[in-house]
Symmetry: C2
Subunit: 139 residues, 2 copies
């Protein structure tokens, strides 16, 4: 979804086999950096449809949405310009398979996360309590 | 905030003196209908800043945000075109005073709500448990 002064995006915290699924970014900004799977909301789709589509495109994983984590709208949060992002906590099944948008996919435990692009680390922190609860049931 | 195929809006469930604050719409769509206070996110402001600004403009009330209720993004939810709305639950203090955007302001109990514009009734229903909890403390 294109805004005249920015874009509306979705980002997913994807839980799989007790870990968090991260993609390694192929393109700038934050090239080579790990990030949550996500992307822009397109015309005619709901934000939930955009989220499911982006996660499949970037990781091959089919997700169930657990909850909305928050709205991230600081005007300077993306170096490309105004991008407001909606972050959701999700659960996935199956085997991840990276597509051409991502350089790779990796699974990390909550306590072993690498440096993340954008404000994706605060997003995970905001969902930490819920992530802990879900992961403790997966173990 | 203007989107090329739509707009990004915020709507507030404002709790005041044990009631929900509704405005009566001056302009179409849903002219004369009751609605939650809210409006469009503008350039350079966060969604939280937009929410506080819109509620002051429409009701004269200063709010504290309690929580994000949800994201409402069905492509046909607004007859004017694509509008994605973020709904927040808030608490207010003081005396409401309608401005020129609204025909009037009224306070309703949760069980005595009038017909509402857009999908504002489902927004309130989605927040019902939290509204009940806050109102029970206000009594």
């Amino acid at each position: 979804m294109v805004l005249i002064d920015g874009m509306l995006a979705v980002d997913a915290i994807v839980l799989l086999n007790g870990k968090i699924v991260l993609i390694r970014r192929r393109n700038p900004p934050f090239e080579n950096c790990y990030a949550l799977p996500g992307g822009f909301v397109e015309k005619g789709e709901t934000v939930e449809q955009a989220l499911v589509r982006e996660v499949i495109e970037e990781t091959g994983l089919d997700i169930d949405i657990v909850k909305l984590v928050g709205v991230y709208s600081e005007p300077d949060r993306d170096p490309r310009g105004r991008v407001i992002s909606l972050c959701y906590l999700t659960e996935a099944r199956g085997e991840p398979s990276p597509n051409t948008d991502a350089k790779g996919i990796a699974l990390f435990g909550l306590s072993e996360l690498p440096e993340l692009a954008f404000d994706h680390e605060p997003m995970i922190r905001d969902a930490e309590e819920d992530i802990d609860e879900i992961l403790s049931k997966m173990r």
